[in-house]
Symmetry: C2
Subunit: 198 residues, 2 copies
Amino acid sequence: MMNKGSLFIISGPSGTGKGTICNELIKHDDTFLSVSLTTRDRRNDEIEGVTYYYVSADEFRNRIENNMMLEWAQYGDNCYGTPKDKVEEQLNRGVNVILEIEVQGALKVKQQMPEAVMIFLLPPSVEALKSRLLNRDRETREEILKRISIAKGELSKAYLYDYIIINDDFDECLQTIRNIIVDRREKLDFVEKLQESI
Amino acid sequence: MMNKGSLFIISGPSGTGKGTICNELIKHDDTFLSVSLTTRDRRNDEIEGVTYYYVSADEFRNRIENNMMLEWAQYGDNCYGTPKDKVEEQLNRGVNVILEIEVQGALKVKQQMPEAVMIFLLPPSVEALKSRLLNRDRETREEILKRISIAKGELSKAYLYDYIIINDDFDECLQTIRNIIVDRREKLDFVEKLQESI
């Protein structure tokens, strides 16, 4: 019997390179990056099923009520969330799935899927974190303070993650996460072999 | 501010060397191995607070009712479990705590303390597992079948653990677990530094 894929959650404060890491992982590995569902309008440069799945507010509400969302949140007027069916479809096919989501969403997913492996990415230094949080043009003081507050909140939940990894050297960080993913598959295959043997 | 200690749960089928690993960890490292509470009588070669804490059935019941047990189970006429206060006392002092417990208990602890890092130990091979399960003298067929059934049940929950480690080379396995423990402390210290800086 083929083992199911494993679910990996990647979180971390803004600017730790989560997006770049995830893009590399899906480019070269047998992994699927979960695409979020949103109620907001598609912009011109965005692609349905790649950037987001675009649905109406009614459909989104319907999915929540039918327990078809692993997690969701509202930002401004729009809702964003992780569709359960797409994730499970890949896992059942034996494909590893990566969710790049913020901490609150991650904890909700973990409650529903306790087998999820949670990875928290950290910036290499205090300076790197600060420069990412503070140095953006055309932002009000309020927007900056809000971003700092979000980052503090995320960092305060890092201890709940299974793996805490510093993105100091990009290639090394990518390799560490790849090893976690590959190793898990190998170990679960071995567990199955042990189970079948006794 | 000093960080709290981290909680590590170590499980795995009979004969994977959990006990030996744990004894090494507490001998050389700043870690505390949780001692279970039991209602059974103390045997002559056992030491209060080292082998077990020995309490009456009334006290055990009292502790369950007051939510003072992280997990507990009954085997035959006796109850065994993990006292919450002893674990939290060490964690609050900044000491890492190790629980060597079976899978059902581990999952109960994880529900109450989601920050617990769960490590599942595997035997090096099918042969090693079998020889441990089958080759014991003076056991009935029923006892052997029961042990196999327990091992199958434990293996079926391995995917819920954060780390799955094969105890192939003892020193290497010990070092891997040590690295997980030491690394976590370092990372959590770094997280704290980041939080304080912004």
